[in-house]
Amino acid sequence: MAEANTINGKEASEVAAPETTRGGIHYTPRVDIYETADEVVLLCDMPGVRPQDLDVRFERGELSLFGKVETRQTPADYFQEEYGIGDFYRSFTIGPEVDAAKISAQCRDGVLTVHLPKQEKVKPKRIAVQAC
């Protein structure tokens, strides 16, 4: 067995999320969040989630991400079972600098991208310095 890995696996931890009627386990998806001068960008790994099965909400300053995962394996038993399959849920508190009306989201190859544009008034502005 030759295994040279530089990447870590999915976190199989369950979080205390609002309970759903479907029951089962919620997985916490891994995220990257970074900020540029104009916006905050959130990237979220949600393998197995189709774009139409995503529920991204922004409510009272809280951004919640929910991805429904369809059951796709029904073996009687596994030879090897290293991860579980279930819905993804995670939520974040977003500061007032984000312009809620302009939040947009895309999903591709199991990665959700949320763009949170900053309000005009908080964007850094370059002030021209005049020689006098």
């Binding site: 696996g9 199989a12 205390a16």
Partner: protein
């Protein structure tokens, strides 16, 4: 129906461990504690199972595209997969969180049954890689008709 399968010495133990882990997670999971992290640390985690005709391997590979992956079946029962995920970012960013992983991986798995390397079908959909491998005829369960005399 009875079926003869290859004996996996650790299969039963692993099965028990898994049930135990599930039970512990069910009891303590609500508190947000991760008592039993996945036994495997290799990337990507893989699920392996089979039916009468096929062996299936599945891995979660979000953000990967098919050209980033290389899948090989060699020596009847060795499945190798390699891949790479690159991070592409605008030049100047300030990080709030960085939890997603980037880089390359290689993993070799021994399959529970021998398969036909010519009949391997791989699909990558919404970040989930599914490899469906046809079992070699010798590995398939045979139904033997018993004739009445």
């Amino acid at each position: 129906m009875f079926r003869l399968t290859r004996w996996h010495p650790f299969q039963e133990f692993r099965h028990e461990m898994r049930n135990f882990r599930r039970e512990m997670n069910r009891v303590f999971g609500r508190a947000g504690l991760e008592l039993w992290p996945a036994l495997a640390v290799s990337y990507p985690p893989v699920n392996l199972w089979e039916d009468d005709d096929f062996v299936y391997a599945e891995a979660e590979l979000p953000g990967f595209k098919l050209p980033d992956l290389e899948i090989l079946v060699s020596g009847d029962d060795q499945l190798t997969f390699k891949g790479k995920r690159e991070l592409s970012l605008p030049e100047k960013v300030g990080w709030h969180r960085q939890e997603r992983a980037f880089g390359s991986f290689e993993r070799v798995l021994t399959l529970p049954n021998s398969v036909d390397p010519a009949k391997v079908d791989a699909r990558l959909e919404n970040g989930v890689l599914t490899i469906k491998m046809a079992k070699s005829p010798a590995a398939k369960p045979q139904r033997i008709t018993v004739k009445a005399q």
